[in-house]
Each structure stands twice: as structure tokens, then as C-alpha cells.
Amino acid sequence: MLHRLRQPWSDRRAELTLGALACAVLLVIVLMVVFVANEAWPTFQHNGLRWLFPGGNVDTQINTMVNAGAKPPAADYHLRAWPLVWGTILTTGLAVVFGLIFALLASIFIVEFAPDRLRAIIVPVVRLLAAVPSVIYGLLGILVLVPFVGNHIISAHDKKSVEFIVQLSGASLLVAVVILTVMIVPIMIAICVDALYAVPRGWKEGAVALGVNRWRAMWTVSIRAARPAIIAAAVLACARALGEAIMLSMVSGSVGFAPNPFDGPRLFLLEPLRPLASTIVEDSESLQAPAVRSTVYAFALLLLFSSLLLSLAGYLAKQPMKKYGVRS
């Protein structure tokens, strides 16, 4: 009878199988990067690294490509993508910074200070929010926040002061960052809460027993110990924010404009923009035009590259912590 029982996999066999799978995944990633880079090549060939710089109106430049037809002259590859890159940096950076601050405070509150009954409600709700599709946030943004900002925050004076540069409608950096933050915060809170719960009770009690108040104990010991997970949460949120296309295209105004901090913080926040991911979606209809196609692939390459860099940065940031026994 016994010999008919299924043999468990040997460690060696499992190791080989998993190793092969991992290699396959790696290969797919490499192929993807090579393919995208290859498609993007003409853009960089014509623009060089100045592709990333500011210069001219990016929307006009893309329109020229769309109209250039199947055999575009070299000049039609001309693009200065800075406004789109800047829009991506701004929305992602601000949303992740605000999100991180908010998520840390919220998770400390949930883990350490919230009454049990409140916690029993908050935690599932946060997890639910993390699963809400981003289009829904975009819809709320466009139906509620954009009109609100357009009608109550932007004054006629504001509109007049930048009238010849850009139109202020309410769809703006402000709304984009707010909605993006709301979108990425739940998953960050969920990760931070889990990480704080996983901090051994002995460390927290040890700190409290040394006469440190609970807030400081959380901050100096628990948060410290949970840093790897917090970094992971930030990287994940960054990746989501970088890749967010539809929602941002709805609430950002979708204008190839680089909000200018020198216009003063108020106007800066009220100016519209369009990040790279949204641009990819919006230009995907014109992919038959070779110049557009190459440009869109260049955007994709940049995003791909950023997310790889992000993972690497997250990994490097965790290294010094391992030394002191902070688990990751």
C-alpha cells in the first residue's frame, strides 16, 4: 500500500522548479525592457537626452506627430517631455509623502490608541478602501472635488493672472494629489498596521517601562522596528501612483503643462498637468503614427525604469536595518 502514496517533492526538485520559474520571470522582464527600449529608440535618436528637458508646448509637439503620417520627417520626432515628467514627479512625490505621514499617524493611532471597538471597525474598512478601483476615486474627484475647486477656490483673479499661460478649471495638481493620496493611503495604512502589530510586545513594553510615554515608545521603537515594512509600503504606493493613468487623466486637467512653483504656492497647486501614464493612455489611439508610437514607448520605458529604480532604492534602504536585527 505504502509505495502507492504520493512521494513528496524532494527539496532539490522544488528548488530546481522554483529556480526555473524565477529565471523565466526574470527573462520576461528583460525581454520586455529590451522590446520597449527598441521601440522607443527613434525618439531618443532624434532628441537625445534633451528629450527630458523643458521646451515648447508638449501637447502641440505630440499633435504634430499625430498629423505627421506614416513617414514622419525627422523634425516631427521633436519632443521636450519635461512637463509630463514633472507632472509625474509632482503627483507621485507629493501623494507618497502626504500618504506616508498620514498612514504612519493613522496606524499608530489604530494600533496603540484606538479603543477596541473602533479598531474592530476601522481595520476592515481600511482594507475595503484599499480594494476600491481607482476609477471610482476619479469619478468622485471629477464630480465633487473638481467643481468645488473650480467654483469656490479659484477666483476670477486667479484665472486672470495666468490667463495667457494656462486655463484654470478646477482640475489641478491639488485635486490630483488629494485624490491620489486618498487612493494610496489605505493600502499603506494596512501594511503599517500589520507591521506595527508584528513588533514584539516586549520591545514596546520595554520602552514604556523605561518611563517613555506611549507615543514616544511607538515612534522610537515600534516604528523603527517596522521600518522595512514602511519602506515596502512606500515603494508599493509609489508604484501605484506612478502607474495611475485613468483617474489622474480625469482629475488633473490633462494638459501638458508643468505647474510652476514660482507662480506662488496657491497658483502652483491650482494649475493643471498630465503625468506620463495618463499621456500613454490618451495617445494610445494614435499609435499608427510611428512618431507617436515611438514616443509612447519612450514614456513607457521611463516608467519602467523608474519602477525598477524604486524597487532597487527600497531594497538598498532596508540593508542597514538588517544589521540591527530589524526584520524585513
Binding site: 477596541d116 514584539p200 516586549g202 520591545w203 513594553e205 520595554g206 520602552a207 514604556v208 517601562a209 523605561l210 518611563g211 517613555v212 510615554n213 514616544r216 522610537t220 521603537v221 523603527r224 522596528a225 544589521k323 540591527y324 536585527g325 530589524v326
Partner: protein
């Protein structure tokens, strides 16, 4: 540095000069702590540091500590003994109001620290004066230096620099008997130390800010006999400027380190008195059975 044998069991008679149990010579040279510390014993106990009056602790309906009255004196080690689950840890944790962190725990009775009700003190101020060492060594995931400096940093208003902290850290590590082992690797992770070293690091961390009372909850239960011996010796050395309360369910240990012993059973304080009385002439039948190992 480390004594080869466990410290001898000392039999101390009231009002008699301290003696060492025959047959075991005190370790020669170096830290002859066992014999040195013994001079502090009995008769020299300082003023009352903490006073417990009718202390009770409830976990919901369950009364874990029942109407306990005790006093804890400067320069004296009080050993709390009793079988598992009799409320020793609970009693200890009420002394620095750590039970307040446990949902559903309620305390009755009064605890005085130098004559002041501990409820009237700011809880952080109380915990700075009444430090605690836990059953499981719990060094923070930081360097050795940062562990010892942790409370010093947190308790000073302005962030002190390393040059200010270094002598204080060294002093604490010396008093905890760990300095010679770690002086060359203060920046190494504390979690890489052995269990015994980690526990001594926790002691150093607790005494770095010069508390008045040191609470120790079975500090040796997770350690090997050799580390246990080192920590017991350390307790003997520390007692001169501290009041120490140590929980243990090891009767030999209570006998070795305790000046006073309190025997608890199911939340009741059954007997409290000088160590020699509890071990050699217990008054209550339950104490007698327990110290003779009839149950436990």
C-alpha cells in the same frame, strides 16, 4: 571575571555576621562578589522605598493579587516566590503601573513610593524611578550603545551628544558587569549578544538612569546556569544603592539573592519575612510544603 561555580548558598542568621555555607570556598581574587556583597546583608536595610497597602489586582472577575501588604527597602533584595500563576508577575507590574496597559486589569489598594501615592505621580516619572527587567531579554533592535543610551536620551530635554552619553553608558555597562565583554563593540547590534549578555544589557539599560527601585521578573528563567550565576552576583552588587524586587520560582535563587522573601500562593501573600525565616523556619504550612518542594 565569571565565577566558575554558581555562587554558594549563604545561610544568614539574624544579627549574626554573614557566613558562607561550609565546603565552598569563595572565589579567589577578582570580584569576590559573593562574600563582598554579603556584608550588605541584614541589619543594614535602608529606609522604606515602596509600601504596598492592601494591594489587589483583578483581571475582570479573576482576582490575581489579593490584599497584599509589603514594604520594599533601600539596600535590600525582596524575592517573590510562589508557583506559576500565583500573581507574582502581576504584583510586580502594578508597582510601576504597567498593568494599566492591560485592558480589563483593575487595581485596588495603595502603593506608596517614598511616601507618595504612585497614582499621584506622572506615570512616566514613576517608571523612571521604578525600572523593570523582564523575563524575556528584550534589547531593542539597535546597537548596544543606543540601547543603554535609550532612556538617557529620552529623559533629557536636549538631545545629549555621544560625548555626554559615553561615560554614563560605560558606567551603566560596568555596573551591569558587561563592560569588559562589549567595550570594543558598542556599535554592534544588541540582538547579536548571547541571551545572558542581552539580559545584562537590559539591566544596564534599566539602571543607566539611576532608578530607585529595580523590578526583575524571573530575569534568569531564559538563561543558562552560568549567566544566571553572573546575574545573581550582579544583584548582590547592585543592591547597595537600589531597592530590588526579584520574582523567581527558583527557590535556590530566592535563597541566594533574597534578603526578604515573600511567598505567594493563588494571589495571597502567605508569608513574608527574612529569607532565613522563610526557608528554615516557615510559619505557614503552605510555605513549609512549598519550600520543601512538596508542590510547585
Amino acid at each position: 571575571m565569571i565565577t566558575e561555580q554558581p555562587p554558594p548558598i549563604r545561610k544568614i542568621l539574624v544579627d549574626a555576621p554573614p557566613t558562607v555555607a561550609p565546603g565552598i570556598a569563595p572565589p579567589a581574587g577578582g570580584h569576590a562578589a559573593t562574600s563582598g556583597a554579603a556584608h550588605h546583608r541584614r541589619g543594614e536595610a535602608g529606609p522604606e522605598r515602596m509600601t504596598l497597602q492592601g494591594l489587589s489586582v483583578f483581571y475582570g472577575e479573576n482576582e490575581a493579587v489579593k490584599q497584599v501588604s509589603l514594604s520594599i527597602r533601600l539596600g535590600e533584595v525582596l524575592a517573590l516566590i510562589g508557583p506559576s500563576g500565583c500573581g507574582k508577575t502581576t504584583l510586580l507590574r502594578t508597582l510601576n503601573r504597567l498593568t494599566e496597559l492591560t485592558a480589563g486589569a483593575q487595581r485596588g489598594g495603595t502603593i506608596l513610593l517614598d511616601g507618595t501615592d504612585v497614582d499621584a505621580l506622572e506615570v512616566t516619572a514613576l517608571r523612571r524611578r521604578v525600572a523593570m527587567v523582564f523575563q524575556q531579554p528584550n534589547p531593542f533592535p539597535m546597537s548596544i550603545f543606543d540601547n543603554v543610551a535609550y532612556a538617557l536620551r529620552e529623559q533629557s530635554r536636549k538631545r545629549p551628544g555621544r560625548s555626554v552619553l559615553a561615560p554614563l553608558v560605560e558606567d551603566a555597562l560596568r555596573r551591569a558587569g558587561l563592560w569588559d565583554e562589549v567595550k570594543d563593540k558598542l556599535d554592534a547590534p544588541a540582538l547579536r549578544l548571547s541571551g545572558g549578555q542581552q539580559q545584562r544589557l537590559c539591566i544596564a539599560r534599566a539602571i543607566a538612569t539611576r532608578p530607585e527601585v529595580l523590578l526583575m521578573d524571573e530575569p534568569c528563567s531564559a538563561l543558562d546556569p552560568r549567566s544566571t550565576a553572573v546575574i545573581e552576583q550582579l544583584i548582590g552588587e547592585l543592591r547597595s544603592d537600589l531597592a530590588i524586587v526579584i520574582v523567581t520560582h527558583n527557590m535556590q535563587q530566592a535563597r541566594r539573592v533574597g534578603d526578604k522573601v515573600a511567598f505567594m500562593y493563588l494571589g495571597d501573600l502567605v508569608e513574608y519575612g527574612p529569607a532565613e525565616q522563610i526557608f528554615d523556619a516557615p510559619q505557614a504550612q503552605r510555605t513549609r510544603d512549598y519550600v520543601r518542594g512538596v508542590f510547585g
